[in-house]
Point group: C2
Chain length 337, copies 2
Amino acid sequence: MNDDLILLGHGSGGRLFHELLDELIVPALSQGAPAAQDDAALLDPPPGRLAYTTDSYVVDPIFFPGGDIGDLAVNGTVNDLAMMGARPLWLSVGLILEEGLAKRELAAVLGSMRRAADAAGVRIVTGDTKVVPRGKADRLFVNTSGIGVLEHRLTLGGAQARPGDRILVSGTLGDHGVAVMAARERLDLPEPVASDTAALHPLTGLLAAELGGALHVLRDPTRGGVATTLKEIALQSGVDLRLRERDLPVRPSVGAACALLGLNPLYVANEGKLLALVAPEAAARAVELLRSHPLGRDAAVIGEVTAAGPGRVALELLDGGVRIVEMLSGGQLPRIC
Amino acid sequence: MNDDLILLGHGSGGRLFHELLDELIVPALSQGAPAAQDDAALLDPPPGRLAYTTDSYVVDPIFFPGGDIGDLAVNGTVNDLAMMGARPLWLSVGLILEEGLAKRELAAVLGSMRRAADAAGVRIVTGDTKVVPRGKADRLFVNTSGIGVLEHRLTLGGAQARPGDRILVSGTLGDHGVAVMAARERLDLPEPVASDTAALHPLTGLLAAELGGALHVLRDPTRGGVATTLKEIALQSGVDLRLRERDLPVRPSVGAACALLGLNPLYVANEGKLLALVAPEAAARAVELLRSHPLGRDAAVIGEVTAAGPGRVALELLDGGVRIVEMLSGGQLPRIC
């Protein structure tokens, strides 16, 4: 029976640790030749600037409709690289396991990481595993860091928004946050909602290649949702933004769930959507490009940069009123990623 | 009062999260210009192969004599890069905070990370912070990943040991593990023991530059200690090793503490020591090089590679007997790093 569970000894660095590595972790994650078990991976970078990022994943529950902590951890870090316009190349994986975790759950998560990495065309090249006693973690935490290469000379970033820019979102809002929340609270939603977790570099690659210098900002609206991410961009760029509620794409099932849960989809996390700020003359082409890919088929222009300013974000409501949008205040949805 | 503690809302991605970033984390960790808060750092790598590694740190307690989880997380990842013969360049930092952690403890750990990074000449270029509810983590877990550049053409690694090689250790065994264990159990040791946490790339740089192709293996004997690390090398290289107990450098205070705790210093973790396997004719020079640096002043030859073989490690005991050394079995010292 204990053979099926993670033991404290699996984190010791000794015999049990090597058995876990050899029997479960390395076969699940290694793509191609078995990795030499040295202290670091050796890599030959292609020419160009590199992008480098890290994210830890503590989502609760670790399995949810549409994904699990494994593909979330791969896609999330791939997306952070993609938002700098980089082509993702390599990932590291750091696991913190709680004593008593079922090995088959770990295996399922690792399998999911591997499939997500294969789908995204990235290689998991280095890793680490720690075990903490029962009650000192919550089943499984995952850290991924990632390295990508910039194959363009664009200057992208939250500080690059300019007056007149159109604000695009690549699809519907709030799917991930609602899916996780419903799974955690075991809610019976009127209609099921699945996480949108996906690797977005096909979309960002398309936009960078086709729009060139008309592409100013790429960001993925994860924790804090579209509202918080746009507020960050407004502050970073020193501009004011205006959104139109009627143009925000929200699935009816997500809208209904948000109403039930008292959530605003503008603040709910997404894990397979991007925001793009583009020069006005490029907006129609950008929508067309996004919609040409399955990940962007619900893309829409949702607002624009109105002027240089202190970083105000205004939302035109359905009833014609205007509301000022601030960052998420407090923890609307803890442990969503 | 609550102003002094980490709240769940600090992990939301919203306003509290940005306050924590702007007031505490970014000022503590950023070296030089404030980082643009984009999804990834942009880096210009020097020419050469890159080394890439990751490690999570879950040490209990987070503060211990000689260091804390912060400098441990910086030095540990720097050392993983150094053991491939790389010059460490950049680190990422992923923090998982337990709700209720005191902000001043977090500040102390971040300050310690910053000082360790400055001392090692590496830059912390990207990071991430998550918060989990009380009881779902143990105060603070830290992941660091790192990138370094190889400035030599040597082939180093656990599989490069050859018959005749001499086995060197750069200093005394078991200091880190005993220091952490004594702090955790609140033991009153006859003599205080401090962790040896330190960045070892000055030593590895010296050995790689001066020994060239006579340098075969570099490893830092962390979890599982010198015994487990040498067993790994023996298996990776397909060779048998012999150690001499009389040549193992152990501080009297650590020896006494190990006797008290029923530990064998050969299996206790080190965080500022390296093992080097070098061609026999280079051994004297290697010891001299190590001893020329304060981090290597207790360096010693502790054994040799006897022959090609199935990976046996033998220990010549003080009384003339011989014992076979296996990997650490089970968890002698959990959560030591």
